[in-house]
Symmetry: D3
């Protein structure tokens, strides 16, 4: 009688002693040797909520695959029995282990489930950003430029973090950040457009919105797309996201051909100077007022995310968090109001 195929479950939902099929990330693969000199691998597989160990012995079934083919950061489909060892903790007794393949992706495997990621659905965020661009940029060629870039960078936008370690440092973080910045800029562009009716030319609302949506577009090529191991690309390190973002705008505008060259110029300037000061990484000072709005909306959104994350994660007793290495300060968490 054929073996019943076990149910597809989450590793973190398997009860002790139960068998199941699940996807897992190989988070750590360490080689060591026993007293008698025989080598073995300790492999730690995890999903977002549990890590379990598989010991791979040199005389066992998985030795060759583990030694030659398994790499940290890869995803696997595993069939096995979950156990909790009193000393060694969570263990898997595997009956099958193979790399995730394209069929799995069709069947619902999603790398996002294995890494820290945005609270929001990337596709929904992308649609919202798209609609903002579509509805709030009046100049048709400029709008097409923005939408073209969103379209082309869609896959990366949905995956990459805003930064590796500083703010929104998780999959989908860039998109979450862009959406928040764009909404703030929409409000501020309207507000200040009204406040300064005599400015000539008036504060350019389209430019503010295009700048808000594209200010970090260079980050989509600053990082690779491996959500489980985000690293800067070579271009990312050699030029940085400011110049890479300006390249994207410059090349796409040239290709499209119909965007007002002055608007392209100003949009490039916004991208290049939105960090505002040389000591924050801006190669030039911002020379137009639109840039200020984007800078402040961006900086506030980034810093606030860091504060909230720092306050939310600190579980130690005491009135202050530990010193946040990025913020360089201990936040006050002991308040009741």
């Amino acid at each position: 009688m054929p073996k019943t195929k076990p149910p597809l479950v989450r590793l973190s939902e398997l009860a002790a002693g139960k068998q199941g099929d699940f996807f897992a990330l190989l988070a750590e693969r360490t080689r060591a040797a026993r007293r008698d000199g025989k080598p073995f691998f300790t492999c730690r597989f995890r999903d977002s909520a549990r890590t379990a160990t598989i010991m791979v012995w040199s005389d066992g079934e998985w030795w060759d695959a583990c030694e030659s083919d398994w790499q940290q950061g890869q995803f696997f489909k595993i069939r096995g029995v979950y156990q909790e060892h009193p000393t060694y903790g969570p263990q898997i007794e595997p009956s099958n282990i193979r790399h995730v393949n394209d069929d799995d992706k069709t069947a619902g495997f999603n790398p996002f489930d294995f890494v820290e990621h945005s609270r929001y659905d990337p596709e929904a965020m992308f649609q919202e950003l798209w609609k903002l661009a579509e509805s709030q940029i009046d100049d048709v060629p400029l709008r097409r430029l923005v939408l073209t870039l969103l379209d082309r960078q869609k896959s990366q936008l949905k995956n990459v973090p805003a930064t590796q370690k500083h703010f929104y440092p998780f999959a989908g973080g860039l998109l979450e950040h862009l959406l928040s910045v764009a909404h703030t800029c929409l409000h501020l562009a309207d507000k200040y457009g009204t406040a300064y009716p005599d400015l000539q030319p008036p504060l350019n609302r389209d430019l503010v919105m295009a700048g808000a949506i594209l200010h970090d577009i260079g980050r989509t090529i600053e990082f690779n797309e491996d959500v489980q191991s985000v690293q800067p690309t070579v271009s990312g390190r050699l030029f940085g996201h400011l110049m890479l973002g300006r390249d994207l705008v410059r090349d796409t505008a040239r290709e499209l051909g119909d965007v007002n060259p002055e608007l392209v110029h100003l949009l490039e300037h916004i991208i290049v100077t939105h960090l505002a000061l040389p000591e924050w990484g801006s190669p030039k000072l911002p020379l137009i007022p639109e840039c200020l709005i984007i800078h402040h909306a961006d900086d506030l959104d980034a810093k606030l995310e860091m504060y909230v994350r720092c306050l939310s994660r600190d579980k130690e007793p005491g009135d202050f968090t530990g010193r946040d290495p990025v913020l360089g300060r201990q936040l006050y968490k002991g308040r009741s109001v």
Copy 2:
């Protein structure tokens, strides 16, 4: 037959050769001597649009008053004939000159007319700020604290600039700035309160609004109230507006007695740290997220005002403004979009 009393006009509206009564600011009083050794004063009186000269000779009618009583920065009511001399320019031939008195104020004399001032009516701005505080701060004792302070500093609030030379450097400028910052903060407090529903305690909207309205309250005692010659007070120089603002909150809260002490503490912290970084004058780093919102709303509003003013006033040809001494840069004005 009694001399007809000339009409009360503006100095800048008097036609050449016509007589009138007008108010004027003594903008400059310089003593010099003629070749024969006789001293004289050159006095330049002005309103917001014209400056005219009165020569005071040592053997003339006005010598004693001018030498003993007239001071630069004082206001006068003058009756005289306006002339335009081909070489020496606008002149007044006075028939009467006296200091402005309280009756004049009742009769409509307003120092604001003689100095650079906000585009908006101070009383209207004050009412709007008051209503914001009244309607948007839910905590009753905190709201009362804010309103009490607005009430007590009302006269100064309506007169002082936000800063002497940096941003909103004109009469009523502080109020214009506060109102703008408060509106921005209202938007951002709602936005980020919604964005981070799990933060414990949640982002305190009352605190953001109180902080936005009071963050620069210390400036009302940092400067004197002479709209025509704003100078820091002794307290202003010895302690600065951050500490003075905190004093106002601390003393008033103690007097009122019913504000949650923790709220008072956090509000003081916001006032003291809203400049965010030591290099910008903040004596401590901000340790709560509310402060970030106020800092960015404040900083953006200040910088944008400087950009707009710089762009609006530069009338020279060329694609860039002259170097703004405060901003340390030349803004781009040669754009058409």
Copy 3:
């Protein structure tokens, strides 16, 4: 026959194998588990010169108390036999363990004995500082202000360090520092008062002395009073000792009512600016000469204490000390003159 009550001794004076009653600080309490899964606590108790271990087993007499009631940083009275294990080092076999109580304090228990503390008796230092204030400040209301503040902060003054880690970082350190600074300032105020006889108003000797004594008074509320675990308070972190010290002076002067308001103002200014430069934490620059004397007396005294402590504690061979993390340098100790 009743057991003889063992003598009250110091832990560090107990010979191996001897029983005694002694006070000890619970310096470390770590939970671990044996191979068989049974938990235990390793508790390290110490006085100023010896640390000894008590193992608390889950099936032993002290388990419940240890698990529920004992906290690091608390003081205990212990009766036990002292042993020196060849592998595990100093051990206590306890027959009684209880928290220190008020009777113990009356009977001579002093937390100072268990922490690093000043070489001088706090009470004697306090008396000396008091007498300095009493004899060297001529202005009666100012003197009363200083004495009132000394009196009210007496308990904290006698306990807190000058700083957590930088200078005089030990119980009573603040008092030792204040006394030294006050004596130096007394000398310098007389010296420079004589050197600049024509200064108007003359260098204010009373102000120098009041400033010297009170310049760090804010530190008494910047730190909690637990000599064995000094930590900044919430106020300490939100405002810092400069503003807290100014508050104490401002509030007390207002309460006393008779101090010359100008003197109060200048004294507040001294407290707020005695760190002299923004990069050293001073929110404003010192604008009166008295402040310079206090700044230099303070800074020299702090730095010299760090140098002497660094030179005295380094026992390694070589001509230079290890790099002092606070001073950022390696001092020269290999000299013979």
Copy 4:
């Protein structure tokens, strides 16, 4: 009958219309031309309290001497009649003008009378410094080193300012500063020697005194000796007073031969590091505690002199002095206590 030799007077004491012999500094010599093209010199001669003009015409008696030999900054003996012209002010009608010569110096001419100088007599200050060195340095060879240097640099010490523009910027200023610093150091060396009895080796009182007296000895060769026009020498600019001072100590100690080499080394280290921090010009950090005492005594004395000078000279109305360009701040002068 021979002309009566007029009395030797001060220029500033000559009554209008009276003749006298007086010494004067040629403060300004400007060449110009009359309408008819004839050149002339306007020469302004002064003593410490009055400046008077001599016009030198191209067809007059003094033309050749003025054109070829007179230089700004030189001293002259002048016989002439003093006049006060209503338009052109104080004038001299000279009957004789010649350079000051050695006989004049014997006869009491003193350049000090014509420049800003110390309130104290240089010779008296020198004697006091000498006696301090003689009485307070116990180590005989070290004392001889200090006295030898004082002796050799005596003439410069009595003339040069401490700095060109910063502190004690007047003739004799260096000596006044050294004396003040040495007295402060004497007090502090005794105080801290007593405070840290266990330091090994103890704080070296001799070294503190030698360092205090010699810390700025390099300034005697950093500047030229022209009291009326102090300029850095070539060595002064190429190496600075720290290295030049160390050279003097190093060379003299080598020549004397009997000073403990370790003491010489430490004294050189004090001279080189007494500015304490790289940002203040110190090429190395101070690695011995003695240096701290000298640094703080030096810095306080310099800054206090700047404060007192700034406060004493400002005669404008208002509560604050003008911005002192060296201190970078406006001092509070409007106090009454």
Copy 5:
């Protein structure tokens, strides 16, 4: 009989009283009014060695042209008599004045003659730089990229200074600088290529040479081409010469199509980072060794030019030059060796 056409001379070579035709730059055009109210222009025309004045009266021949058409910075052909007025200095009595036209350029008019310019002939320098590129870059497509860029920017290269005020601030200065830097880099690339034979990949000599020649290519579009009034362009101010230079390389390489993409990338990186440090304007740190060679060759050449120019132009007496505002120091010129 027709008037003889006067000879074409240099303004600075015309003898007083002689007539001539000459080219001149209108260096200054100032409007003023006579006592009687009639306006006039004072126009100062100059060549490289002499400035002479033409007064244009409101009732004279040149009034209309001067008022409507003449602008500062324009070139003119003038026929006139040169005079030297005893009071008012060099004057021209013009008989004809017109703008320079294209025929004049053909006939030898050269703006270079009227502005400060390189000691070397621009065309000769250009040829030398071209030959360096042609002979020293082995990689054919890379060489073609460099030559294409030189060819396209030839006109600007020959005209623009290296910088407006810092180094080589004169027409042709950029070319002179590039040539010097390229020669130094050639030497250093060979030297260090040999010194580090084991580096993998080896130091890329082609890349060093391409980088040396093109490191400042962006300056050709950072400035306009008016040799008599060099100003940054809009692009120059919005993006700076680093990004503009990278754009030129990036666009041209894409157009040519055959350059190794990795070489293009590295060349762009060199251009963007050749200022080496953020505080010197480099947006990223240099991550390849070739960049160091170009940075140091560039920086040395720039600074040395500033030193030599400062030393050569200072004609005042004294051992040191005046303080150079760019270098921030006074150089030693009083040496004899």
Copy 6:
């Protein structure tokens, strides 16, 4: 029959199981205790390519010597059998161990073999530097000064690194650096001497060469000579290599007596200022152009060595090296051209 004397070999060339005589550095000597309380030493001896362990037991032959006489950093001659233990790795079973003595040195023992050292032979480098000085400095007394200093510091020059950890941090590194800098300076002195023919006095080639060769001469006394454990000397820490180098030049020039004093002065100035900026450790700014050449040649050579070393040693996969702690960046190594 006498034992056969084993061959003198390198430790790293001994086959397992073979006996040999070899020299080794005692790299680590750690005392520990067995379970039974008996102490032992683990001694690790090494040459440049292998480290092997000798266990010294308290009851063994080498105990007394090891406990009393052996120190880390000393060299030994060892006779023993080499073994490779499966768990504990390379071991020596010694039959003799003694300190290296003078005979060994004669017989070819060279400490260089045991430490990281220059690729070039120190003696050959020294000769090359000597010849450069001899052939390229025309001024005879200046040349003699340079050669005298090279001669006197010869031993240290051949041993010390350029710096402890930054650039050329290995034995002989200083000499390698000096030679490279001197060659670069020779090229640049000729180049710029030709480029600026009108400079008065001309660029001094002799001075450039003397400065290049001696700029770091102070480092020969900044470090001790123990190639296996380089440490700063007391003088090195108290004064730094800039002042120590100037001392060497100053003292030697005084002793030789015939060098042009101005040349000595300028050479001292070059040594003291060759780091160019205060933030890089230069106590004064360079005031002569020769110094710029030496500064840039020096700085480029140092940085390039760091880049090459960093790129050569990093063996990890990836496109970038790890973050170099001295350079503060991750270099690009993943290039193929």
